[in-house]
Subunit: 275 residues, 2 copies
Amino acid sequence: MGKSVTFYDLQVSTGATISPFVWATKFAVRHKGLELDIVEGGFTGIMDRTGGKTERLPAIVDEGKWVLDSWGIVEYLDETYPDAPPLIPHESVATMLKALDAWFWGAAVGPWMHCYCADYRDVCFERDKDYVTRSRALMLGGPLEDIQAGREDRLPAISAALEPLRLALRSSDFLGGNAPNYADYRIIGSFLWLASLAQTPALAADDPLRPWYKRVCALYGGLGEHPGLFPIFGLEQREGDPDLFVREAGKGGIFKRNTGPASTSAETKMIGEPT
Amino acid sequence: MGKSVTFYDLQVSTGATISPFVWATKFAVRHKGLELDIVEGGFTGIMDRTGGKTERLPAIVDEGKWVLDSWGIVEYLDETYPDAPPLIPHESVATMLKALDAWFWGAAVGPWMHCYCADYRDVCFERDKDYVTRSRALMLGGPLEDIQAGREDRLPAISAALEPLRLALRSSDFLGGNAPNYADYRIIGSFLWLASLAQTPALAADDPLRPWYKRVCALYGGLGEHPGLFPIFGLEQREGDPDLFVREAGKGGIFKRNTGPASTSAETKMIGEPT
């Protein structure tokens, strides 16, 4: 066992982590070769558990030093452990990840929250349910059952909207390239948030994102393979719904490489000769 | 004057470049300290101009070597000129840029094309108009005037959808961080595509993206300030339309840093106490 940091978790009744930020931070700590000394707990009692240090998680304590906030912890880890592989290998990665994360939040996490908010409440510890019901109803603007209702009609379009991520991972094992970095951990955190609570799958069984998901979850001794997680792959394609993902991806369009006239002739035939 | 590469341009009647890929590649060549030896021209006659080498642009010739495709040229430039600042400083930047570019294409370029397709045709060289009218009507599924009609009701939502880019650039001068890289050039290319043809602005005059746009356009002696370009900032906020951008950005939510209970108390007050 290497060196450990005290890690304040945010869990549901299965023992799995729920918060996307806490998930991302768990991977970030392990990426640096550090072990997690977990302080268990759910949504309520965070101020008590942390001695008044924070209302929100993640939080870590490293050699007596409290570090808060998912981005704050990442910056601390890269500064404090420069000999371990960087979480953010270039400042451009941080900037672009903020854009990508904001896109993913708007395209997937927000809409999924509207599809799974009653599941979210149901999977919490009993002692957390009052707070979660009340706060999430305020956030979402209505009773959780009403907000969640009809999700089967909304899930296909959310899956379809994830094509930019599929495209990037078509030519790369990780968002980090050949090896994972914080971009992978940040985005997998939101998928694992979903897996911590989803009582019905959100994505097709053959979604091209699945190999990346499995690859990242398997890191650090299967950090993302907690037995309390639910399957998120297995949504069936229904007739009349949007395609859950683009099957003919890579066959043409702006993401095809131009290697000369032979590579563009099919498109040219379709749209007409430019000469 | 430093070393030049032969650069096949794709222009409209103002002399400005239209293609987002050609724009991105112009910046990429200049980033490497190389000069552009421009071969002018529009949509028709590309095969003639390039001696049958390609139907699509960009294309460059460097010391007699033909290099095609916007990504192909970027990879060539970084391999061939390793002493100049990298266009792609880490493989993670390429992977994430593919996701970001695909998002931007779906959120902005595609919808804008539906708002500006008649402008697009009108600004072309006379000799290109038949081809452009025919090919774009096939791509878009109808006469260009019909597709473009009603754009004033669609532009506000497109502007609103660009929030992930605004968020990333709120804490960074460039997508590249403190200095620009190919991520900036790739995305500015699509904005300059719009500027090459837009007869009415697409974004608010006070859009937070504007300082970044001006910063990138000013690079390399004002490479993005061609006199033939049209203003893209100046869309008026109409009552009942979505906000053109988020004015209270940074005040809270998941993108606010947690620095302890004082930083989260306002949100806690809104959603209720977790204890």
